[in-house]
């Protein structure tokens, strides 16, 4: 037993991985639809007037954000956890029956919840809080799903052979703890049906916080849901998959220490940058701005650590499309974590807030960093999960360039749209009157909305190529049974 490498159990990983691809296509498809609706409002009724209630922008928008963040990304994160966790802790899930059951229940509850969420959002059952739209019954369900994952983490750590926790594990633990805390506090609400003695809709609730307090808690949550769903678990992934795929050791342990603890301490303060010039106390706004700028340090610490891991091995970036995804992903992480702090500076925020520049920022992070890293992780895992080489390297390379072009079109058009609109809103003529009516600042954006829709469509096309490539991988010819080291094998 001790002589040969451990056999790991990937049954739960496979479930999450396949569901992640399905949710990715769903979420991106809805996103593309929204983009076309903003360019051409007629698309709002593309299934006819009768179904307009369920196909118009405002019902679909929460579906898009939730399908991507808590669908595509979380499912990928969990696929990676059930893969990476076993490998760096040097223990197989199959060694514990309880862990196997926990993992499977975790998946199937999540799978069921996903469908309930789609139906409830389309029906307009929402609390309106961004990225926290679910009503109380779903909040409770999500808490259970989250705790199941937590038990899985604790259980696997408890029976581990490798005593020292690898960097990836730090980030998974932080993700679990932070999201648990944020979810609990942001969703404190009173079900009105029970509080009023059985009147009205049973699923309706009212927030424990009012007005400015509600806003403060919501953006403390909102900003950090981004941090701890779209950043920390993705860093966990790259700390494992980049060294594995490239065969290079992580450049600096000290840099990873600094980045991790820096990120933990600084990130939570920065939520205030969503509330600049609002009615929250000035000092909270200033703290939000200042800590957002400080946040560059730990963010760039991780990204630079990744780029320097490739030191002396840069030919791999040219040779492997898989490495390309990870390196461009890290670069987009640097780019996005510089852009964010710039937007958090009060005077810049005065122009940028409420505009499409913010939407652009979210997407160069989500498409460039999160999307690319997840795609790379799945490409790395697939040959090991299915014991087959990647179906097509050239398809992967084509996908990479199509998606990169899509991202560039997306963020450049949204920069221009956002700054144009921000400047037009505040423009005064020589007599001190507003220079533009609001609608002028909408119609001017039409070309940029169209370019963005094209960019999004390209990204979706690339993602469908990815799904096809993975599908064919599961059916193409088997490779040898031996454990794969370093670079993933790829067919032409």
């Amino acid at each position: 037993m001790e002589d040969r490498p451990l056999e790991y159990d990937y049954s739960v990983t496979r479930l999450f991985l396949i569901f992640a691809i399905f949710l990715g296509i769903t979420g991106m498809l809805v996103g593309v639809l929204l983009a076309w609706q903003m360019a051409y409002p007629g698309v709002n009724t593309f299934l006819g007037e009768g179904l307009a209630e369920y196909t118009n922008f405002s019902r679909l928008r929460p579906l898009h954000t939730n399908a991507i963040i808590y669908g595509f990304v979380l499912s990928s994160v969990w696929a990676s956890w059930y893969y990476v966790g076993q490998r760096v802790l040097k223990v197989s899930m199959a060694e514990s029956k309880t862990l196997m059951i926990l993992g499977k229940v975790h998946f199937w509850l999540y799978f069921g919840a996903a469908f309930v969420i789609v139906v409830s959002l389309l029906a307009g059952v929402t609390t309106s809080k961004e990225y926290s739209e679910f009503e109380w019954p779903l909040d409770l369900g999500i808490t259970v799903i989250w705790l199941l994952w937590g038990c899985g983490i604790a259980g696997l750590i408890a029976i581990r052979r490798e005593k020292t926790l690898y960097i990836s594990i730090w980030y998974y633990i932080a993700t679990f703890l932070a999201v648990a805390m944020l979810h609990l506090f942001n969703n404190l609400e009173i079900p009105t049906y029970f509080a009023s003695g059985g009147v009205g809709a049973w699923y309706h609730s009212v927030s424990m916080y009012a007005g400015t307090n509600d806003a403060l808690v919501q953006w403390w949550f909102g900003h950090n849901a981004v941090a701890f769903v779209l950043t920390t678990p993705i860093i966990a992934m790259i700390y494992y998959f980049l060294p594995k795929e490239s065969g290079q050791a992580i450049y600096s342990y000290k840099l990873s220490l600094l980045s991790f603890w820096g990120l933990m301490f600084v990130y939570l303060w920065a939520g205030g940058h969503h509330l600049l010039y609002s009615t929250v106390p000035d000092w909270v706004q200033t703290m939000g701005s200042v800590f957002s700028v400080i946040l560059i340090l730990p963010s760039w610490g991780s990204a630079i650590n990744m780029l320097l891991t490739m030191k002396g091995e840069w030919q791999q970036v040219a040779a492997s499309p898989l490495i390309k995804f990870m390196i461009l992903g890290s670069t987009f992480y640097m780019f996005s974590t510089l852009e964010g702090p710039i937007q958090a500076i009060k005077s810049v925020n005065a122009i940028a807030h409420f505009t499409d520049w913010i939407v652009g920022h979210v997407h160069d992070g989500a498409l460039g960093w999160v999307g690319f890293m997840v795609i790379a992780a799945i490409y790395h895992m697939a040959p090991r999960l299915f014991k087959r080489e990647i179906y097509s390297k050239s398809l992967m390379a084509t996908q990479f360039w199509i998606q990169t072009l899509g991202i560039v079109l997306y963020f450049t058009s949204m920069w221009i749209a956002g700054i144009t609109q921000g400047m037009m809103w505040r423009a005064h003529d020589q007599f001190g009157n507003l220079a533009y009516s609001f609608i002028d600042t909408v119609t001017v954006l039409h070309p940029y909305y169209t370019i963005r829709a094209v960019g999004g469509t390209l990204y979706l096309i690339g993602f469908i190529m990815f799904a096809y490539n993975i599908y064919k991988t599961t059916t193409a010819r088997p490779v040898e049974e031996s454990e794969l080291q370093n670079a993933s094998p790829m067919g032409a």
């Binding site: 709002n44 009105t192 301490f265």
Partner: protein, 230 residues
Amino acid sequence: MFHWLEKNPFAFAVVVIVTIAFAGLVEIVPHFAQQARPVIGTTPYTTLELAGRHVYIKNSCNACHSQLIRPFKSETDRYGHYSLSGEYAYDRPFLWGSKRTGPDLMRVGNYRTTDWHENHMKDPASVVPGSIMPAYTWMFTNEADIDTAYAEQVTVADFFGVPYNEPIPMKDGSTKIIKMGSDVAEARAMALAEAKLIAQDMKDQDVKDAVANGKIPEIVAIIAYMNGLH
């Protein structure tokens, strides 16, 4: 120390949670009581307005419209006085939004009328040429959920002391009472009475007929809500 933490998962988790919880404790907790006080003249929502607010939320109007006027000349010129914290004292949840695909609505009741909203929700581009807002025709047929609005009123009055049926000081020194029904039947009757006033100013015959028959379409409720935004 770090090496030790990395071998002791429980201690590691404790240190992480302390590190991340710190910011929330310092930034959020101290200001809670102070900010929740209403400014003079702020009143809680009537049953119909609250039902309209639920329609606003149901259709994610906040995805494209803010309710937060920042203290800049360009914003006060366009939307009116900048927002004050106390004006949101009865907003659960807050509806500031994060994107202005359409204009701010914090004080839309000051400059738009019932018939403007009616035409606009039916066909936005006919009122504002070039508008990219979709039509909300289903609001003319779906019924507003008055019962849930009433349940929410009862809840916030019980748990948070929202002053229904109590005199509330206004800016001119007078007082105003926002009534809440003593049971569901009374709440429905009060909402219908308010809906009739709105329907008077509307043109859509189906909506008028529905209100005359004791039904309240969503459009009536959301107009009541928007007319009340000052």
